[in-house]
Amino acid sequence: MLTRAVLFVGHKFNSKISFFSEMELENGKVEGGKLGGEIAMEQAFLKFDINRDLYIVAGLFIPRIGLINENHLPNTFNGVERTQVETYIIPATWREVGIGVYGRVPAIDGLNYSFALMNGFNVAGLESGTGWREGPYLGFNASAANLGVTGSLLYYWNDFRFQASGYYAGGVGITPRVADSLHIDRGVFGIPVWLTEANMVYRNQGLEVKALGAINGIPDAADVNRVFANNVAKRMYGAYVEMGYDILHKSRKHRSLTPFARYETLNMNAELPENGVENGALNQQYLFVGASYKPVRGVVIKADVMLRSTGDLNRQLQFTPYPVNVPYYKNNALVNLGIGYSF
């Protein structure tokens, strides 16, 4: 499957103002009346360089949350698919409409910060089993009825990269009249949602180690379930650790061959409200083992084996009747092959 094809268009108006955009086509094509496929803007923002230590972005942009979100090109991460944690707990590629300030602290080498004000979150869109995947507006039908704020600290120190970020937003972007009729809290930060994550990358002599942990929450998940009946969790968490080694790192031809292994754990119903229905299948562990080969910097050929282990499926949440219903296996394996490029 052609998972993604992205077209980048940028323009520099002058030395201080630039435009960046990415338009993405998913799943090869979009056809009227048929499911699947998507065309979406991943980014479309203006960048204003205030000085050499500070710039502002405005428009549809990707906030600095997690590792893959901001840096999601296929030749920058191991594995054919993006990590599970940064798919369901951090819904990468997560972009919103707003304004962001990015800077560095001149007095401390390597210390960077960011702060952004964006449109809020959409708890009505959440679906049980897909984590926070369907919560962001992604620039579609977003309003200022609710808002989100995010901030991060990023520190480069020798061969390490450390980052921590947080996000807090109102979860209901509906008008006061609709909210009142649904008996649900409203306002800019009504039905709050939050997420925090920290990550670390170490690179030296071909060795690369990555670790990330993230946790999110919806304190008023019971109200969300009562109104939208989508069985959302009060809290989810996920973490992964990955190690890879580029056995060609001494090559002067910019080639690399990186075998890697990654362990991921995530629980998309770590804590449920009183009206939530538990599903053990959302408590998942993954082991990925594979390799990435880059004949040149911009091209990658990937392969990996995924071993997945989950808890018991809650049969009460399975509505598809027999025999259409497929059996659920708690342990399964999948082989992924892929190619990627960026230039």
């Binding site: 901001e70 840096n71 001149p106 080498d109 480069y156 020798n158 910097r297 911009g298």
Partner: protein, 153 residues
């Protein structure tokens, strides 16, 4: 039995202490130097920037050149024949963003591209090396001259 347990406890404690002290020693040894303010300079009519050798106290020097959009990094490299000087433009070749100088190299905080002090890409998404400027060192006048060129491309 008690002696064996005590011995194991002490041995484990000593090993952990040894590892911790080695790591702590590495951390202290590798502690980053607080950021220095960039060296300020101006271009002459031929787009040359002259830097006194004494300004290059360490291996690298960030130079803020008036009328240049991004800083310039001057790098002193020790080679068999002596010393070589390199000057690179601190503009990421991926998204035209200013690069940060860290003890481990040059990094772009926008998408994580990394470069060594000579401007070679060490981490994608950037694919092209940084723009280099010719450098000449005059040991008689003790000045290093950087020829600024092609920076508007």
């Amino acid at each position: 039995m008690s002696n064996r347990r005590t011995f194991l406890k002490q041995a484990c404690g000593a090993t952990c202490g040894l590892i911790a002290s080695v790591l702590l020693g590495d951390l202290v040894k590798a502690a980053p130097v607080p950021g220095k303010k960039p060296y300020k300079a101006e271009m002459d009519e031929q787009n040359r920037v002259n830097i006194p050798l004494e300004a290059l106290e360490e291996e690298v020097l960030t130079i803020r050149v008036k009328d240049l959009e991004y800083d310039v990094l001057l790098y002193r490299k020790t080679v068999e024949a002596g010393v070589e000087y390199k000057a690179v433009y601190l503009r990421c070749t991926h998204f035209d963003n200013g690069l940060k100088v860290t003890p481990g190299g040059l990094v772009c905080s926008m998408h994580g591209s990394r470069f060594d002090f000579e401007g070679n890409v060490t981490e994608s998404p950037a694919q092209r090396p940084l723009l280099q400027f010719p450098v000449t060192a005059n040991t008689e006048t003790n000045f290093i001259t950087i020829q600024i060129q092609n920076h508007e491309q």
